[in-house]
Symmetry: C2
Subunit: 661 residues, 2 copies
Amino acid sequence: MTIQQPIASTTEDLMANAIRALAMDAVQAANSGHPGAPMGMADVATVLFNRFMTLDPKHDTWPDRDRFVMSAGHGSMLVYAINHLLGYDDMPMEQLKRFRELGSRTAGHPEYGHAKGIETTTGPLGQGISTAVGMALAERMMNARFGEDLVDHFTYVIAGDGCLMEGISHEAIDLAGHLKLSRLIVLWDDNGITIDGGTELSTSTDQRARFAAAGWHVQAVDGHDKEAVAAAIETARVNDRPSMIACKTVIGFGAPNKQGSHDVHGAPLGEEEIAAAREALGWGWPPFEIPDQVRDGWRAVAARGVEARADWAKRLATSPKAEAFRAAHGAVDAKALDAAICAYKHRLSEDRPKVATRKASEMALEIVNGTLPNTVGGSADLTGSNNTKTKGQTPVKPGDYTGSYIHYGIREHGMAAAMNGIALHGGMKPYGGTFLAFADYCRPAMRLSSLMGVPVVYVMTHDSIGLGEDGPTHQPVETIASLRAMPNHLVFRPADAVETAEAWQIAMTQEATPSTLALSRQGLPTLRTRHTEANLTARGAYLLRDPGARDVTLIATGSEVEIAMAAADLLEADGIKAAVVSAPCFELFAQQGPEYRAEVLGTAPRIGIEAAIRQGWDLFLRPEDDFVGMTGFGASAPAPDLYRHFGITAEAVAGLAKDMK
Amino acid sequence: MTIQQPIASTTEDLMANAIRALAMDAVQAANSGHPGAPMGMADVATVLFNRFMTLDPKHDTWPDRDRFVMSAGHGSMLVYAINHLLGYDDMPMEQLKRFRELGSRTAGHPEYGHAKGIETTTGPLGQGISTAVGMALAERMMNARFGEDLVDHFTYVIAGDGCLMEGISHEAIDLAGHLKLSRLIVLWDDNGITIDGGTELSTSTDQRARFAAAGWHVQAVDGHDKEAVAAAIETARVNDRPSMIACKTVIGFGAPNKQGSHDVHGAPLGEEEIAAAREALGWGWPPFEIPDQVRDGWRAVAARGVEARADWAKRLATSPKAEAFRAAHGAVDAKALDAAICAYKHRLSEDRPKVATRKASEMALEIVNGTLPNTVGGSADLTGSNNTKTKGQTPVKPGDYTGSYIHYGIREHGMAAAMNGIALHGGMKPYGGTFLAFADYCRPAMRLSSLMGVPVVYVMTHDSIGLGEDGPTHQPVETIASLRAMPNHLVFRPADAVETAEAWQIAMTQEATPSTLALSRQGLPTLRTRHTEANLTARGAYLLRDPGARDVTLIATGSEVEIAMAAADLLEADGIKAAVVSAPCFELFAQQGPEYRAEVLGTAPRIGIEAAIRQGWDLFLRPEDDFVGMTGFGASAPAPDLYRHFGITAEAVAGLAKDMK
């Protein structure tokens, strides 16, 4: 394959070739990485940034900046090269030379929080484009609230074949098309190459027809024809639908002997090919050297953004909505929330409702949504089951973004990624629901919530065999353990309405940690009948029933705390003193000091009780202790029958306790 | 909304209404379940079975039967009603009366293995249609091997809006369209209703255009017009592409006051509405009573299948391929595999290669694929990284199914579901690869492998921070724990080429348990230098280095066993006797007797070593023991730097051991 364009002549050509040179040189220096995508998409990215992107490297979190998401995250060097050239102060050339080294900001894939100007972590394919849908949705919702003076920007995505083959892309594309997210523009790196070889090995999909079927505006261009790319972006910007621009590109464009083949995707080009590429591109400068003309070109992009941001700041200063806008982007009003939750808990301790914790979650959400103005609820088509919609909430609709509730459709994974995007965009706090068993469908996006430290809240109801007749496909037995395994993720399994309210309070005030609330389908009594101002759930586990000197300690979570309390009653009748520990959040208990933990757990024999597998319970249990729970999948039957069948009963617990004593 | 057809008059109309009556009566009796889909799709299903399906209820595993997959698994009563009416001997009326009761065969969702004629477990949306793609692919592959005399059948799917909104459906549809799986026919229950309300709440996708974009043949019919449905199926059967028939239906058809609304989706109709439905449908019989005319109609379907199977049996009896065909459907030749693996292990003990276990996996696969004639390999576009393709394997291509390797594309979830389908179809043993971190993408389908007991093999390479520069998005730290949490799933993490071969041997001889092989990217020395005929990996964990009386026991898996061995050397130099336990499979170790476990673990202080989180290690470790591993996400850097950075080194282990002693 031969180079398809003349030797670089314009500044814009040189700006693109600067990306290519930095990408191939950094990958070579690291002896690891992906030169193919940055070199192939350098022209498209240069046109996008040079002619359209509005950003200010000195104010990288400016709310009204355009968002750029490199969904094909393996092409991270494209991002780092651009951010260096734009002049982000944390991306000096030295960082590019240290690509993929320990402690550098230039990680193998773009990592949110590692360097400025990285809007989201990408690498797991399909996540970037799906997260961008959340960003574009948040933009429209914030626009509806604050007007175009304060919120009026675009979300641009570079996506590869991998992103478009992943299932999550279907959920994201459908949701964006349905909601008419007109500020979302996806540039598809249509290079016809995957790792195994040509795309014809595994796909025959007409991507343009596919996007059109989902309600998108679709164009196709030669991705190395800068004027064509510019014209297409121009057209996309004024269309009232989300836009996909198929950019026909040559992967590794510029490497004369390797371009257009999968060999250029994920390995250094080698010194010889790099020299040949330099010649073919007419790039005469040594590695990591950028001529002034090119640097000036890129700095002009930044200068345009600086001006735009200054104008915006003036508008904000005089806006009647300035205070509300700033508040939306600041920390949650923890004081107000604490006061509201405290008052609510006090009422609960008197009312003592017997409700499922999914219902208790709705009750707590009434407080949360009534106190915090910028929550965004939703469910993956289980609104009435997840109880995620509170009284005041109206749904977001195509073209009408004033609502604060999202019908995500039967798209758990897309919902999770969109919530990441909403949270990353800023200004709103998303939560969304599905059945706990279907956390598996969300898991890759939940992992990114944790890795990025995005405080999304997952409302996962029907959290055990207690859901009954729907059977083992719907009954999580290993799901709680699998979520507790995830670093930087709070898993709450509240026992009653009080703990549910406390869990919501903690989840909504997290700044860098996502939460999952595992909630029951079945009704549960209020066990915390004595009101405390303190949020006891914040300790992770606490003594719910303290008999003083104890013969046995029963430790339970969620719906099984009721069973533990009943077992303690049975034991008491037999003269055995049982303490009951409610353990709504393992992660928070693990953070407590040794004294507190020792005080709660005591030295007596222990029994853990959870309608799930034992894995992870060694936080509480020693080898000599016992566990009442599940050892395999559940079954389809009414919940009480299942609890009896699997031996998760107060009688079984009491029997064990007697044997242990 | 009024009933759109006249009172039932033909036998076929009555056959359809029998499904409706049984569905609404069983759901009412259970006071739980989903009448909407069975009532809405009763006409389509009746036409499908009455005029097309070939099956023999007395030989429910007859290999050349047509497959029927109820992807909208909540409509399970449609399946149970039909299977009862067809005369499956394990589905007497009593089972329908016990719908959703403990111990009945009529679980809330169709569960593979619970009753005859259930081809796969469904309920988690999108899984059925995606599993069916694997079945339809297996049919074509078996047809290519054994000819149309022995293999020539269809796979029919009923899918709902939920199935088509799920991301996995995109992967499945694209793969099926690409491979031109002409024997796959999807009947879409286009009823415009989801749980939250009308589909217009969350989707605007033109499904017909979408399927066409993926290379499908598409038709649309009134799903209550039986002749139209029949004509469409007829047309679909002779098309050379997979077919989607959009069947416009009224959910809950027949319930005069509730049909066409989401109220009829997932709750009993109530006695009053059921009475009204009986009148509207002209169905005069009491609950659970079927008139002879109707029963005869359904039994005629079965009779047609009995005849077809008898003809097929005659063809098989005289086929020169009969022996091979029977062998393909029988158990693996465990003896031959054992001999081949033993001979290979013997060579390894002499050659002692230093290879990554992903490479060792390829070497073992050369033996496996050379010994077992019916393995089917594949990868989600990481063939060269997963090392899943052996020398003799050629890829399956559109229209050419002679190969035994599948380029699944960047579709981990679709791959996993397709492998379930291939295994369920029978005749072939599938394995497929991706990076271990992306097990999360496969997880809902992996869970079904485990729940159904389908012995699929997942080849998951790049199994720790040892993958290096790609960074935390690609580094599984919690993934191994999350897979060990899954019931009925063997997770192998072999330490060297010998254990890798042993793991493959165990995985390939499983009959009802899927396996995951977690394999290193980085090179590892052969540690099992003394040849044993016995498969030591089958014990789950064993003493790799036994110093006799020991001061400390080091327990490690996979790439960290090398570190444990090096630590033992360091300790030996200081006069401390360290035993090293290699623990390639926790699940198998948990199955060993207490004597063996005590012998392996000893009583000395223990240190667990795994470049992953500790969760699950209480199988080996007591509270006083120690663990060297990860506590959070990884980072992007060369692997040796990461091991040092996170303190997973022989020096660190030896230091800890000295402190413990």
